[in-house]
Structures are given as structure tokens and as C-alpha cells.
Symmetry: C2
Subunit: 532 residues, 2 copies
């Protein structure tokens, strides 16, 4: 292959030239110039080949032991660490995210940690949640879906949410499913590097090499065909809502599982007591959360709810200053820059007042001024959906409610979101108002925070990185946190009157490891089952 040829795709266990309909290159966000090699836009022949190999791999991986799947994940995590400096260099070039601390010291360790947590869940079998009814001799557990899972990664986490190596990937494989990754076109080289490391790990562990496949791009039409294909078991999509919804429609029509995670405005309610008590700290916390990573997080606070008053005006002035004094970061790509500009225009057209920023950054790279907008509660309520348009990036809209009743109305008009935060005074003086706000917010968000900003999603079994539609497609599932995130890619497998020697190891009378928690006749236990 000459150096000018597009890079190969990973299909059926082999790196091979794509059957390409075209090609593309990534851009360096700091220079707006194309960088790196050419990457192919796959035709549907590539997609079909990957699906065929994926179905076969699903049958093969179903026969692999949990230990081997865990070993693959652990080897992959080690491979990523070994290649750390190269990965960081590539991801930094492709995304302009700071090499350190962000990529090298935060995101990369988070990614390998997440993969290892998935491996631990596989080894312990904790994610299978065995439930046993000894009287009826009915036993059930979660198991793989029986087909490949499509994973579409977002632009803003080249490691931790990568379609290879990210949380969805780790969760889908942990449940025993092959993955067909669709790279984010913002960082194809980083994704290719990760796929090579995964592929090497598969070969090392002797798992079917088609358990991990990689395509870089395909037409929208072929994407819809992909997620609705009879051979696909499920799709996990993290990214922009419009792309998510087009794919979701196609998947839904075919009865295919589709998990989307598309961000939102993540309302932050700051009650007066918090401002009276700790205004400067709250300015710092909010501005820090809004501008971190140039605001390019699913959980960035895009909507801040305040009650009208002098302290609030003081807070707003300070916040404006803080936005203006903060350096403007580089945006991930041209699409982000364009969408951010359009969204800010849309919000202003709807009636939001510009407090600062609002224009493209006159710099070499992709960028937009730190932008703060403002709207009064009554105006917000005239067209609540227009004011909840996500402006992905370094923009935040302040909504000033005239009184508590209006604040409650604004909260009631909120759409589904990943997170909702409430700041109050440290004493119990605002408990009643907190309760009123929390009651409404609770049904609107997946994660409710108290005196804490929503950015920074801990990889915890108690995390919910998900929420009501349209933040996510199902409010019962989280995209982050092992083992719960694994359940998205699992089927409930029930065994009724199946002879003991034919049961999966997790459901046999003897507790396989002596440490696996099982729900036996309604109680969680690590014990064996004694047949009467």
C-alpha cells in the first residue's frame, strides 16, 4: 500500500483495504489544517462484511470463558498504557485537548481504569446478577445479546468514550458481545491506534479476532442501514442529538436496541442563600465547570437558574468578569465551532441577551469567545424549548426568575437532562425550597447534585450518566459505571427446569467462586444452594 492510500479498516479479524466510497482526513483544531493519513469512507459492502463476521464472532465468544474475556480487557488496558505517550500525542493533535494533565493524566488513566473495572465485573460475574427460585427451579441471569454491538464514539473524549476502548466498548464486550466500532471522524488515527492495540490483545488471548472491528465513516444512509440490520444486536451512540435521532429512528423501526447519550443543558439552580454565603466561590465553581475543556462536555452547565435580586446581579457581574478573563480554549473541530455559533445565534434570536462573548474567536484555530447569555424567566417560559437548545462548547445561559413561583414554572418546563444541580446555603435555612426544586428536577434528570457542579463523571457503580429522553433513550440505564453500564448490552436469560449440569456456571447449585452474590429466594447470598 503506497503512503497515499487510505488506511485500512479492521474487518473479520484482519486489517484490509476498505471498499471505499471516498476518504477523509482529520483536521488539527489549532491550525484548521488537515493532518494525518487518509481514512476511508466505507461502502455498505464493508458494513455487510463486518456484520457477517460479527454474527459469527458472537457465536464464538458465547463459548469463551469469562476469564478469557476479562484477560482480553486487561491485556488491552496494559497495551494502552504501554502506548500511552503515542496515544496522547495523536489525540492531542487531533483534538487540541491538552496533552497534560487532561489526556495523559486524567483521561487515559480513567479509560484503562474503566476497562479494568469491566474486566473485574466479568471475572466476578457480578454483572450477571443471578436470581434463583429454588422452589420453582427457575433461574435467571443476564447474558450476551447474541449479536454484534455497534458503538459510535463522540468527538470530545478520544479515549474514555472512544468507540474502541471507551465505556460503551468495554461494557458491550464485558457482556460477551462483539463490537463493530464506528470511529469519530475527529480522531481517526487515535481510534486506529486503539483498534490495533485491541486487535493485538485479542490475538494474544486467542479470542475470535472479529470481536473487535473498526470502520471509520459511512454515509448517513448506510449508517441507518447498519443500526437497523437484522444482524446487529444493539447500538450505543454518544454525540450530537440530530445524528442520534436519525439513527434511533432507523433502529427503532427494526426493533433494534438503541442507546443514545446526547448531552443537554444540565440545569444548575443556585438559590439565594448559596450566593449570600459564598458568592466568590460559587462564581469560581460555575465558571470553572462551564469553561473546563472549552465547555465541551455532555454535562457542561448550559443553563443556570437564579432568583432575581441584588445578590444575583452581583453574582452575574462577577461571572461576566470571570468569563472575560478566562483564556478561550480551542474547539474540537469545525463542526463544533459552526454549531456553537448557530446555537448562540438561535438563543439570541429567541430573546436571550448577550452578556459577554457571542462571536468566533479571531485566532488561527477553531474557537469561540467565552459566552454568557441571559434571559428572564417570563421570557423563557414563552418558548422554553428554544431556550434549551444545547450550545455545545463554552457558552452558558442564565435564566433569572422573578420569584419562586416562576422558578418552579421554569423547572417544570425543562426537558430531560443528564444532570441537575442545586446550590443552597450550608445551613438548613433553604431546605424547604430545596425540596420543592428537587422534587421537580428529580424527574427531569438522571443525576441530581447538591452543591456540586455536574462536570466530572466518576466511574462509580452508583453513577448515572443517563437520564430521561432526550438526554438518553432509556431512563433506566447508565452509560458510565461498572457493572450497571454493562446491563444495556445484556439479555435476561431464564432457565426453567434445566438440569443442573446443563446450567451456566453462574446458576449451578455451587457458588462458583464462593464470592458471587446471587439473589436466592429473595435474599442476596454468596452461599451454595442446597437441594432438599
Amino acid at each position: 500500500m503506497s503512503s497515499g492510500d487510505p488506511r485500512p479498516v479492521l474487518i473479520g479479524g484482519h486489517w484490509r483495504a476498505a471498499r471505499a466510497a471516498g476518504h477523509f482526513r482529520a483536521a488539527n483544531p489549532q491550525t484548521r489544517k488537515p493532518i494525518g493519513p487518509l481514512y476511508p469512507v466505507s461502502t455498505r459492502e464493508d458494513v455487510d462484511d463486518a456484520l457477517r463476521a460479527g454474527i459469527e464472532a458472537a457465536g464464538e465468544i458465547a463459548r469463551a470463558s469469562a476469564e478469557r474475556i476479562a484477560a482480553f480487557l486487561e491485556t488491552f488496558a496494559r497495551n494502552i498504557e504501554s502506548a500511552g505517550p503515542d496515544l496522547v500525542r495523536s489525540a492531542h493533535e487531533e483534538t487540541a485537548l491538552p496533552a497534560s494533565p487532561r489526556l495523559a493524566d486524567v483521561e487515559l488513566p480513567r479509560t484503562t481504569d474503566q476497562i479494568r473495572q469491566a474486566a473485574a465485573a466479568v471475572k466476578s460475574r457480578s454483572w450477571t446478577m443471578p436470581t434463583i427460585d429454588t422452589k420453582a427451579d427457575i433461574r435467571s441471569m443476564y447474558g450476551p445479546l447474541g449479536g454484534p454491538v455497534a458503538v459510535f464514539g463522540p468527538n470530545n473524549f478520544p479515549f474514555a468514550f472512544n468507540s474502541i476502548a471507551g465505556g460503551d466498548f468495554a461494557a458491550a464486550v464485558a457482556a460477551g458481545n462483539p463490537v463493530i466500532a464506528k470511529a469519530n471522524p475527529g480522531h481517526p488515527r487515535t481510534t486506529e491506534m486503539l483498534a490495533r492495540l485491541a486487535h493485538e490483545a485479542l490475538l494474544d488471548i486467542d479470542l475470535p479476532p472479529a470481536v473487535v472491528q473498526l470502520l471509520y465513516m459511512m454515509s448517513n444512509e448506510d449508517g441507518e442501514r447498519f443500526v437497523s440490520h437484522p444482524s446487529i444486536a444493539a447500538t450505543a451512540f454518544t454525540g450530537t442529538r440530530s445524528s442520534a435521532l436519525a439513527l434511533k429512528r432507523a433502529a427503532d423501526r427494526a426493533g433494534k436496541l438503541f442507546y443514545m447519550e446526547t448531552g443537554g443543558v444540565n440545569p444548575v439552580v443556585i438559590l439565594p442563600g448559596a450566593l449570600r454565603e459564598r458568592l466568590p466561590e460559587t462564581v469560581e465553581e460555575l465558571a470553572g465547570s462551564c469553561l473546563l475543556g472549552t465547555g465541551q462536555f455532555c454535562t457542561q452547565p448550559g443553563l443556570v437558574l437564579l432568583l432575581a435580586g441584588d445578590t444575583t446581579e452581583d453574582f452575574v457581574s462577577n461571572l461576566i468578569r470571570r468569563f472575560e478573563e478566562s483564556p478561550t480554549g480551542t474547539l474540537l473541530g469545525e463542526g463544533v465551532e459552526r454549531n456553537l455559533e448557530r446555537s448562540v445565534e438561535g438563543l439570541m434570536k429567541a430573546g436571550a441577551e448577550r452578556l459577554t462573548g457571542g462571536s468566533r474567536q479571531p485566532a488561527e484555530g477553531f474557537g469561540f469567545q467565552n459566552t454568557l447569555l441571559r434571559v428572564d424567566g417570563d421570557r423563557f417560559l414563552k418558548n422554553p424549548l428554544n431556550f434549551q437548545r444545547e450550545a455545545f462548547g463554552n457558552e452558558t445561559l442564565l435564566v433569572i426568575a422573578h420569584d419562586t413561583a416562576e422558578l418552579v414554572d421554569v423547572l417544570g418546563a425543562l426537558d430531560g437532562n443528564l444532570t441537575g444541580s442545586i446550590y443552597t446555603s450550608r445551613d438548613k435555612g433553604e431546605d424547604a425550597l430545596y425540596a420543592q426544586v428537587a422534587r421537580i428536577l428529580r424527574r427531569k434528570v438522571g443525576r441530581l447534585l447538591n452543591d456540586k457542579m455536574p462536570t466530572g463523571v466518576a466511574v462509580s457503580p452508583a453513577m448515572n450518566h443517563g437520564g430521561p429522553y432526550p438526554a438518553a433513550s432509556h431512563p433506566g440505564f447508565t452509560a458510565v459505571g461498572m457493572p450497571p453500564a454493562i446491563l444495556r448490552f445484556a439479555a435476561l436469560h431464564c432457565y426453567d427446569n434445566v438440569r443442573e449440569h446443563r446450567l451456566p456456571v453462574e446458576l449451578k447449585d455451587k457458588n462458583l467462586t464462593g464470592r458471587l452474590w446471587r439473589r436466592v429466594d429473595g435474599e442476596w447470598t454468596r452461599g451454595d444452594i442446597t437441594r432438599v
Copy 2:
């Protein structure tokens, strides 16, 4: 209201005249004659009123204690028992299902037992599955969806799957959601009676009376609008696939949860060893399961897979005789009769051979001859989907595979189903073949049975009454079995850094009851949490 007026609907806590677009009456399946009072076909004004009241009730029930929700379910169960004889009489008239033992001694006790199991899950809070990360101070649990749940009940279980009193109803309420029931038009009077008992229980317990609402019928268009309305939180539908899919499309487009459970053909694989060993018993078991309740079960064995051979021919002859000798039951309604006739015609047109039956029953009531069809494996494989058309009722198709390889191909061509059964010899002689069959069947079905027929769905926490699409809409959820069935109507509620006194009781440091199992730092425990 004069006796000729249609019966009232239950909206917003009151029985009131429907804003009707028309009306209908149930039919007595044994005489084909209309019976009972007129019931209204609601307009969208009724639907909108119910949705408005449902949203308000969702906010109110969120403030009710678990004890009160449980008390409602328990009172409702007692009310059902008190009204047992009247309910049985009504259900028998409307469905022709035997008053005894079926309705009075099996289905009614099953229904109250199921409601009480839901109440127990509510009281113990076991369904909320609290997960606590003490280091990160992140805590999560399942909670209500925050809006009303629409429940569409099927024709074949006037009590146990009734849109009021059935499993979906009990599960949705247990999760703290109001229910808007859409009665099955086959048994409107039984449903009205159940709604009255539920309504009385709500008033007794002083829960918001709009927690239970009832409409009897609406146009298809209004039904689609109903399940996709911004105010609806989720829909549970049990019934025919074509109706389910039309509603699902509407709900999906709006991002609304939609759980369907639509039956299927429930493949039963009978390996030669079982026939050689216990042919007469297997004939009895299979015929019993196929013809029980005139075959009108979601889990009725509609497809039996056999290997060609003399024993199989012997088995088939015996089965034909058993089908011919068995009395023909009454079908639930005209729609069932018509659909069964069409499906049998469709199967025969596709190439299935008629072994016995195949025509309407020349009787006064709705009925169809006990029908056995047959097709060879190679013919099945030429058009596998056509031969998997469900014929709801007393019909079964035998597929005779030429050899094991063909059997494996037939299994591979199966669509998603609720159940799959495998019969083998009692010794270990067929273990290898069992493993081969089970591996394929496992990914096609929710419940895998061994030497057992699929009819008879135990209300067990380990049950899976669900399966891969199109048997159900999500393979990770069951429609039967408390507490798991409750999770369909729950959102994952995460609390991040929320002050202890603001947490729900389930997540506070102290274990509320001392008996609630919680997953704390990865281990299930009933203990309190000690803050360091």
C-alpha cells in the same frame, strides 16, 4: 344516566360520562351475541383529560410513602377477593374461559398473589436496588418515571394481565407511577368492575384517586397519539403484534418507553431420545400444552421441531389422534377466530400440510378445530418467516428436520420468542446434541426450558416472560415476576453529593428497615453505612 347510556369512564378520580365518539358492546363467545352494557369509544378529549390528571397524580404519588402504595395494592387485592364470584361470572361471560378451575381457582388467586408480591416489593423497597459508593458519596436507586403509564391489556387473561389488576398494572403502580388503563374490548365489564375496586381502594387509602384511570376504547389514531403524548411516561402493551407495532412506532418517534409482549410460536424441540423413552407421556404433555385454554396463551407451543424417523412418525400419529379426540374449546372472540383461520390458511399456502383440523368449528360459539400442520425442514428453510406466523389459538405446526444439520439450520432461522423448550432422554446420552440446540436457542428466547412445556408462567422473581424482538421490545426486561417486572417502569435516580437529610430513605446511612439489601461499595449488605 338512563340504562341505555354507555357506561362511564374513570378520569381524574371520578366516574363520568365519556366524551364519546361511539360505543361498543362485548360479545358472549359461546353465543356470538352481544352482551352487557354499552361502553364508550373515547375521543381525544377524554385522553387529554386523563393525561392531565395523570401528570398531576404522578407528582402527588411521588410524595406518598411506600407504605401507602403497598396498602393500596393490598386493599385492592382484598377487594378483588371479596368480589371474586361476581368477577368470575363476568369474566366467564365475556371470555368463555371456564369459571372453574381456570378463572376462580387459578387466574384470580394468581392475580391477587401477583398484586401482593408487588406490594411486598414496595414495602421492602427491594425493587429500588440501592447502590452506594461511600468513597465518592454517590448513591443511586430506581424510582418512578414521573408520569402516567399507559397499560393495554390482552384478551386472554381477564384478571392476571388485565390493564387494571394485571401484572403490568401492579408493576407500574409499585414503581410509584399512576396508570391510565386501556381496557381490552373483549371484557369491558370485568375491567370496569376491577377499576371500581381499585378506585375504592385508592379512596380508602387516601391516595390521589387519579392514580388509576380507565378508558375502554379509542381510535387507532388516538391510541398512537396517546402513547406518544408528551405527558405519558411509558406504555405496556400485551396483545397482537400488528397493534403493538403500530403503537410502538408512534411511541418510539416521540422517545417514549414502549414495552410490548406479543407472544410468538414458542419452539419446542423434541430430540429422539425423549420419544424413544417416553412417547405417550410426551404426546400428552405436548397436546395438553397446545390445547390448554384452547391454545390462547402467549407461550403456547406453536412450532414443534422433530428429527425425521420412525419414532417421530409414530409420535405424529399419536399426536394427531390426541388432537382429534380432544374437545374443541371456545375462542375468546370473533377477532381470534378470524385471525386463527387466516393464519392457518397462510401457513398452508406457504406449504404446510394439514394433519388434522384446519376449519372453523360448526358450533354456536366462536371456535376452530384443533389443528395440526406439518412441514419438512427444507421447505421451512425456503421461507422461514412465513412458517413462523403465529396462529393464536389451538393450532400447532410440526417441523420435521431431515437430520441434525437441518435442525440446526431451522433453529438458526428462528425469530425472537418468549420461550424455547428442549426435550431429551433422561440419561446424558443426548447432552452433546442438547448443548448444540441450546446454544442457538439461548439467544432466540427469553426462557429456556428443559423437559417442560412453556405454558404456565410462574410468578417468580427468576421468571423471564419476555425475550428478543419481536416477542418483546427489550430483551433485558420481564413482564412477569416481582420485583424484576417493576424495573420496566423505573428510572435510575442518582444522588451525587446530596446531603444525608435530603436523601430518600432508601439511601440514607441508616438501613431503614434493617432488612433492605443494598449494594454498598460492591457488596450486598443489610447494614448501615458508617461515615469515616
